[in-house]
Assembly symmetry: C2
Homo-oligomer: 188 residues x 2
Amino acid sequence: MSTRERLIESTRTLLWERGYVATSPKNIQHLAEAGQGSMYHHFSGKEELARVAIDRTAEEMRASVDAVLSGPGSALERISAYLRREREVLKGCPIGRLTQDPDVMATPMLVAPVEETFTWLRSRLAAIVAEGVVAGELSAAIDPVITSAAIVATLQGGYVLARADDDPAAFQQAIEGILALLGALSVR
Amino acid sequence: MSTRERLIESTRTLLWERGYVATSPKNIQHLAEAGQGSMYHHFSGKEELARVAIDRTAEEMRASVDAVLSGPGSALERISAYLRREREVLKGCPIGRLTQDPDVMATPMLVAPVEETFTWLRSRLAAIVAEGVVAGELSAAIDPVITSAAIVATLQGGYVLARADDDPAAFQQAIEGILALLGALSVR
């Protein structure tokens, strides 16, 4: 791996494990086994490096989520497959976690890819819920926009509950809770 | 306010605004207008002070949540009142946020009150959902344990969406989304 790549991948790891505010340029250089001069040769600083790292994490997430949501099955089956796919629950969501970081929130360049990712995810899920309603699979009482917000929120909040408990079971309960509500409103 | 009080209240403010990892003893002393000697006279350090601050925040939250959940109205009305009550949405949940802080999670003494608060909240909500089912107000298809996990997760994740968007509307959409699902499963 090139030094540039090692710097990006080390930043992704540290952002996920420690967050932005708790990660220093020195931490990144140490994990990447790169010198300070080398880091500032490739990037203007921690901020630019974090943006490249977040962009890459967001792109990978979109691609993998889209693969599940574009897969086979009914609307509810695809939403279930997405919510139930394997995750490192106790590490939290590498994108969602950034919203709790004070220095990310104070840096528009870093908030932008986080906001874009959630906007994309919510509209992608809203379209699938709408498909399910149109197909007569889900009750017409379901509003796609607010329902997709609740689905994404349950996922993000599920991580919070699991971390509070130090147990992925809480995440799974939240996921199964929202799926059960949707399932009870499916038209069989 | 006594110096001890100012130290506790300043720590609460900083934990909510910046988190634990990003708050130094110096930050606390500065906001509290207290000297280093004074801080270490009252507390063994940042960790003990944070525990006292978190305990106080958790106690206040429990009392105010309990007041709403013990109020008048049907199960769904009380859950709605709780989810819709006024909040500083963009600041996030002062307890939930702590789960995203790496140094809180690495300190069992600080995780304990967070875990206890969520355990209490989930079981309190589960009892109300169960009441609603028993009273015939909510569909018997609703499982109280996983439903309450989904409700608390939606709330916590709603903060994540709102902060990503820098707009409380996303929080409200998530809340209305889960309430609409519960409402559609209420037996009128």
